[in-house]
Structures are given as C-alpha cells and as structure tokens.
Symmetry: C2
Subunit: 197 residues, 2 copies
Amino acid sequence: MSSTRDIDALIAMMAKLPGLGPRSARRAVLHMIRKRALLLTPLADLMQTVAATARECLNCGNVGTSDICDICASEKRANGILCVVEDVADLWAMERSGTFKGRYHVLGGTLSALDQVGPSQLRIPKLIDRVATEGITEVILALNATVDGQTTAHYIADELGGRAALSSLAQGVPIGGELDYLDDGTITAALNARKRL
Amino acid sequence: MSSTRDIDALIAMMAKLPGLGPRSARRAVLHMIRKRALLLTPLADLMQTVAATARECLNCGNVGTSDICDICASEKRANGILCVVEDVADLWAMERSGTFKGRYHVLGGTLSALDQVGPSQLRIPKLIDRVATEGITEVILALNATVDGQTTAHYIADELGGRAALSSLAQGVPIGGELDYLDDGTITAALNARKRL
Ligand SMILES: [Zn+2]
Ligand SMILES: [Zn+2]
C-alpha cells in the first residue's frame, strides 16, 4: 500500500462503521484529507467532544450528554404517556415526526430466542418500574413490525397487565418495516391512528 | 431532536462524507457512541493525526505523510516506467493488484470541457517535466475508460510525442468502468495485456 500506516489505520477503522465498506472508507478518507480544514479536523474535534460527553440517559436509555437526557429533564413534555421504542435511532425518528409530546423509553433491542436476549438484557424491568412510579396512564408500544418486535410488544403488554392503557402504532407501518426507514408523514399518520390493545 | 448539539453536528458532518447520507450517518454515530473505546476515541485520534500529517507528494500527487511519498522515495521501485492515474484511489487500486513495480503520476482528475478543466489544472505539466528529466522510457496511461479519461489519454499522448513508449491498460477494463471498482485479478490481467499506442 502506498498510504502510510496512520492513513491505512484510519481507512480500516472507518470501514467498520455500518454502511461503509473498505472501498467507501477509502473514498471517505481521501475526501476528508482533501477537505482537511472543512471536514477532517472538525470531525476529529467533534468525535473527541462526543467521546468525552455522550452517555445513555439513566432513566430512558436515550443518548445525550447528561445522566438524565433533555427529554426526560424537559418540563414541556407531557407526563403520564410513554412511548416505548427499540433503539435510540427509532426515538430520533419519532422526534423528527414532531407529533409525540410525551416521554420515551428505549428498550435497547427486542426479545430474541435466537440471540438469547431476555427481558433483563433489555430495559424492560426499568420500564415496569417507571410505569409503576411515574404515574404513567398510557404506553405506546412503537416497536418495529418484525416478529421479534411484536413478540416483545406482547411480552410487555402481559407484564404491564392493566396498569396503563396500551396502544401500538397502527396505520402506515409496513409489514416487516423499520421505523427509522419511514418518512415523517407516515410516522405521524401511524401515531394519530394508534389503536388500543 | 433529542440528541444534543455536538451529537447533531457530528451527524451532520458525517452525512457529508461520500457514500453516507443522513440516515447512515445517524446509524454510524450511534454505533460509534456505543463502541466509544473501540471506535469513537481511536477514530478521533487517527483523524487528528492524519489531519496533522497527511500531504500530497510534491512529485507524483500521491497522498502520504511526507513531501515525497513512499513510492517516489523507494529505491526498490523501477525507474524509467511511469503509470499515470486520475486519482489517488486509482493508485491505491493499482498497488493492491501488486503487479506494477514502477512509479506513479496522479493527474488529479481528467480534462473536461464541461467542467472547464484544462491541462494546467491537472498535474500534466509536471508529467511532461518528469518524462523529460527522470529518464522515463515507458508511460502507462491507466486512465478510466470514460470519455474524459480517454480524451485525457489522447492529449497526453500528443504532448509526449515520441519521448516515451506509451501503453494503456487493455484487457479487462469494462466500458465506462472505473479502476477503483475492479478486483485485483482484473487489474493484473489488464496490466499484463497492455497494448502499445
Ligand atoms: Zn431520558
Ligand atoms: Zn510520490
């Protein structure tokens, strides 16, 4: 290889990012080197800042820069209504739709017999606890329309029993579809047409 | 958005990289935050190092960490034979094939009437100069099989006149194809079957 060790190492590490392979990593690194002042140096600085400050919210699992995230800490969000999502990316997708004004709970995945993921590997105990202690009256299960997503929704519905009104996103979520792929309008429609379980 | 300003800024900047869009940038940033010690911090460090050290070779245009790149500085590479490529990514693709043992010259693009790119915006004057002063007896024009690539090859052939034997990559380069997309075996075959112009 003509590139020196640090450049090679940078390419190899960039290639580990989801959505990038070796070829796109090489392209990205050459592009960054050409745009050093506009891209490479600011990216390095931002990554260092984020590495030093990013953390998971102790309450809901969202990613932010404090132990309690902006949404959990906000006084403007509605109490009593909780939207349960699998992943932080799904929470961000919900927020982009701008429709939901309550609070969130990020499970960190779904139950999976195949991958041996049980309730305690997810934030399910914490969810049960929040519903009991935060005066939650409605829980929206905004899980992906996959087998594991729906299994997880049923498990949570069983665990919560009658302690809160449950609903799931309805209209607009395609079979097998994932929230983070949907446009904002579809998410809004699915949220407005949510059906009680 | 639930993510804080630095995380948003990092996502926005990652989305500017070739091959990444907003969605894949969000996925990449969440992945990096989860793999902070393995990915985010080392990436930030490597980017800072590369930003501080990467430079274009003054002789050939390759990217390295010194004014004269490893290939130009190497005593093991054959003198007298020069492989001309459009882009550093093409040089790296040639090197991965492991076949070529001579030196390189990176044009930095192709002539383009549409984009108003003339010879002086590329490293063409430097190429003419190198052929005259470095005792070059063979020039391989390893340009992409695009209209602009072939126009550039013809222009260089005219400029060099009879001062060096000219060849172009032959067998294996598909019409409209770009070097950086080819597998190593195809590049090797094209190089071995190069035809004189
Ligand atoms: Zn939170
Ligand atoms: Zn060089």
